[in-house]
């Protein structure tokens, strides 16, 4: 079926989605922040094992999500 016509203008829908690349950049930034936080938590005397474990789990989840989203993605702006 051929279209009768294009509509004159799209609806105003404020659509501006996270792209895979932008999502990967954000995940990488969060990974760096979480890794630094984890390092500090581990270095703290009497560190809370539960807090350390939570950070470890978050770091793994961030890395896994990024790997699924953009396999082989390289951060163009490594910190």
């Amino acid at each position: 079926m051929h279209p009768e016509h294009d509509i004159d203008a799209s609806d105003w829908t404020e659509q501006d989605l996270l792209t895979r690349d932008l999502a990967a950049q954000r995940l990488a930034a969060d990974e760096a922040e979480t890794a630094a936080e984890l390092q500090r938590a581990r270095a703290t005397p009497d560190s809370d094992p539960a807090a350390v474990e939570l950070l470890e789990r978050r770091l793994r989840a961030l890395e896994a999500t990024r790997a699924n989203l953009v396999p082989g993605w390289q951060n163009p702006n490594p910190t």
Binding site: P3, W12, E14, Q15, D16, L17, T19, A23, L69
Partner: protein
């Protein structure tokens, strides 16, 4: 730490992108050619084919992704043009839950994309209203039976209406309420959609059934299709900066209308417009009401700001001014939003951001804003443990 781990963030304004088979899976055979469907077309730049929606003989060049008034067509290229370009959380509810977990967000209302935020596309772009009704019903069935069913205790179903026919609206609200719907999208102004205004009695049966089924009307800014554009040459930054004025207009429109007087149990959620403007506007509206109500067709014995406190909820992603003014706004009227998957969300650190934003707010107030007010508004509670 005011945002306690036990507090569950509930976003009252997120978005989903309908996958390509939402309508083709559900429409009767006779409508499959006319109903919304995705078509692959060659890219004008020679890249991978682009995917576009077709509906009722019309071509919609964006798959719910980049239809931003004020953007030049050549700028659309920076947005995804194929589903494969999107993050799966846009269109896959299981992936969405993973992304919400990563973001520290527990529950969410999701607005539609292709049908527009209040389903206005099926009103404005249809030549066959039996087809349009089938499309509205198909979207609502998808939302409740497919999307929200993945995690019913985390997704809040907010339906769209066949706005061109109030009898069909009433039937659809009742049908969806029986299936578990919790809210109803509604344009923040019906007039730009060439529909009767809320000052008439046209919508009374719709608002009555919303009260009867205890579902709020969710008015996403922009759902009337009338953006605050100041000049054809003005950069889109002007429009973005003025988004909140759309919610301000809706608030004045509602508070001087007969709606809340005729429907004392109706609730309205203003979706995505911030809250920092509320104290100023209520002061202005009350002042206008004090001086000018005697010769105008407005209700004379109930102060508009009292109506606001009883009926209207605002929400915000980040709004420093709004948090400072929270006692003037009314904490029970404030909810939180995340706006995933739009790029102005803070994903994947919405919770971290909220911890910082709420750092100086007492725990009990934070709990109301991020979770409890939304649960009450949408009558959305976890199933009791068995």
């Amino acid at each position: 730490m005011p945002l306690q781990p036990s507090m569950k963030l509930i976003s009252v304004d997120d978005h989903l992108i309908e996958h390509p088979n939402v309508w083709t899976d559900r429409l009767p055979q006779k409508y499959l050619d006319q109903g919304p469907r995705i078509v692959d077309e060659p890219s004008s730049t020679g890249g991978a084919p682009i995917q576009v929606w077709y509906y009722d003989g019309k071509r919609f060049p964006a798959i719910g992704l980049n239809a931003v008034a004020g953007k030049k067509p050549e700028e659309f290229g920076v947005e995804p043009v194929r589903y494969a370009d999107m993050i799966p959380g846009c269109y896959d509810p299981k992936a969405r839950i993973v992304d919400m977990d990563l973001d520290g967000v527990y529950g969410a209302v999701n607005f539609p994309s292709f049908p527009r935020f209040a389903g206005g596309l099926f009103t404005k772009e249809s030549g066959d209203f039996e087809l349009a009704l089938a499309c509205v019903q198909a979207y609502n069935d998808f939302l409740i039976d497919e999307w929200c069913a993945v995690a019913p205790h985390r997704f809040i179903p907010v339906i769209i209406l066949p706005l061109w026919d109030t009898d069909r609206c009433v039937e659809e609200i009742r049908r969806c309420a029986a299936k578990g719907a919790k809210g109803i999208t509604f344009p923040e102004n019906t007039v730009p959609l060439e529909l009767p205004s809320i000052y008439t009695d046209h919508w009374d049966t719709v608002f009555s059934v919303a009260e009867e089924t205890n579902m709020p009307l969710c008015m996403h800014f922009g759902s009337s299709g009338s953006p605050p554009v100041t000049a054809p040459e003005a950069p889109y930054a002007v429009t973005i900066s003025l988004y909140g004025t759309n919610s301000m207009s809706a608030t004045a429109h509602l508070l001087f209308s007969p709606v809340f007087h005729r429907h004392p149990n109706l609730k309205v959620a203003l979706s995505e417009g911030g809250v920092g403007w509320v104290p100023y506007l209520l002061e202005r509206i009350d002042g206008t009401w004090e001086r000018h109500r005697w010769y105008q067709n407005v209700v004379k014995d109930i102060r508009p700001s009292d109506l606001f406190r009883k009926h209207i909820y605002g929400c915000f992603i980040d709004d420093v001014a709004g948090l400072k003014a929270r006692y003037d706004i009314g904490i029970p009227n404030m909810t939180w939003e995340c706006d995933y998957p739009h790029s102005d969300s803070y994903w994947p650190h919405s919770r971290r951001y909220a911890e910082k934003a709420f750092a100086d707010i007492p725990d009990s107030e934070v709990h109301q804003i991020v979770e409890l007010n939304a649960r009450k508004l949408f009558n959305f509670y976890d199933e009791p443990a068995v």
